[in-house]
């Protein structure tokens, strides 16, 4: 048994037509029921109102009067926005720290760094389906909670932590292990 993605509607906003169409085709291949596209954030805003998508993928830099961050802020904060808590994945080729902070501040749910693989795309989509974030409405921030809840630690991370612990236990059991954090202080050994 696998996901029945036919019930999900996605909106893609990207001013680069071939990229837009490639992402659309990928999502349809993965089984999404309806994938709408828009070439500008302004057109995307109209489609967003019309279809109220379950998920939005959008480019950061776009031609027109609105970029991806401004679009996200409008979705999150504008009065009358039909789905202010909709998950938003921002696609970008610029992976610097400031962009990540700006995107999070605007209310982006996930950041998909280009070039991306199908597996990376799936990873982000799975996160959105399996680990949806709480939503914060605060004076200075409206958007998904940036902290992941402890119960939502991804399986990979859980496994890594368990592996580390097992490795540490093995070292402790070995004859060469010396615990340097003992009670005695330097210079006080007998």
């Amino acid at each position: 048994m696998s996901y029945n993605l036919r019930k999900l509607r996605v909106l893609i906003i990207d001013d680069n037509m071939p990229i837009r169409m490639l992402v659309r085709s990928l999502l349809l291949d993965l089984g999404f029921g309806a994938v709408d596209v828009a070439a500008t954030a302004e057109d995307g805003w109209a489609v967003y109102f019309l279809h109220k998508p379950d998920l939005i993928l959008l480019d950061w830099r776009m031609e027109g009067s609105m970029d991806g961050l401004q679009f996200t802020r409008r979705v999150r904060q504008e009065l009358g926005s039909p789905r202010p808590r909709v998950p938003i994945i921002m696609m970008t080729g610029f992976a610097n720290k400031q962009l990540v902070l700006d995107a999070r501040d605007a209310g982006v749910t996930e950041i998909l760094i280009k070039p991306f693989t199908v597996q990376t795309l799936i990873k982000h989509l799975t996160h959105i389906i399996e680990n949806p974030r709480d939503f914060i409405v605060a004076p200075k921030f409206t958007g998904p909670d940036r902290r992941r809840r402890s119960a939502e630690v991804p399986e990979e991370k859980k496994k890594r932590t368990a592996d580390k612990k097992a490795k540490a236990d093995t070292v402790k059991k070995s004859s060469k292990y010396v615990d340097l954090r003992g009670k005695s202080k330097p210079g006080k050994e007998k």
Binding site: S2, N4, G93, L125, I128, A138
Partner: protein, 161 residues
């Protein structure tokens, strides 16, 4: 304290709406394979994907040749070149990606938009066009290295001048 700051923070718990709609089980292997194949075959559409940014770059170059020397143009060149670099990697066009990367680095280093630097930008655009026309991996490794080393020398000369 402002009036806004007095407003309480509201936390809306996650609703698992998407999960309820799609059920469990993850993505189907068959569908993942179809998407992987689509991505692999996407190399065909790269020249048209890159055309969008190539057109932007050519328009900026025309502006520079018409006497506009604003530093904002350098930023615009860098942005479009960066898009081509990233998409080149995604669509398996390593040479295009490498030439675009050379252009990004050059834009980060130049101080003026006149004389030799402009010719080096034009040279990059010409090389990008050739690399796009050649298709993915169409250029032999030896030629690739030679081409990139030629661009590197041109960049160094323009920066020295």
């Amino acid at each position: 304290m402002t009036q806004d700051a007095d407003k309480p923070v509201k936390v809306v718990r996650a609703t698992y709406e998407a999960k309820q709609k799609v059920g469990g089980g993850g993505f189907s292997d068959k569908m993942i394979q179809a998407a992987e194949k689509r991505m692999k075959d996407a190399a065909e559409i790269f020249p048209s994907a890159a055309k969008h940014d190539m057109d932007k770059l050519n328009a900026i170059l025309a502006e520079i040749r018409n006497g506009n020397v604003s530093q904002e143009l350098v930023l615009r060149i860098k942005t479009s070149a960066h898009e081509i670099r990233v998409n080149g990697q995604m669509f398996q066009y390593p040479l295009v990606s490498a030439v675009a990367e050379s252009l990004v680095s050059f834009c980060e280093a130049i101080k003026t938009l006149s004389g030799l630097p402009v010719e080096v930008i034009a040279l990059h655009l010409k090389t990008l066009k050739i690399a796009l026309d050649q298709g993915p991996r169409a250029i032999m490794e030896r030629d690739r290295v030679e081409l990139l080393s030629g661009l590197e020398k041109a960049c160094a000369k323009a920066l020295e001048a």
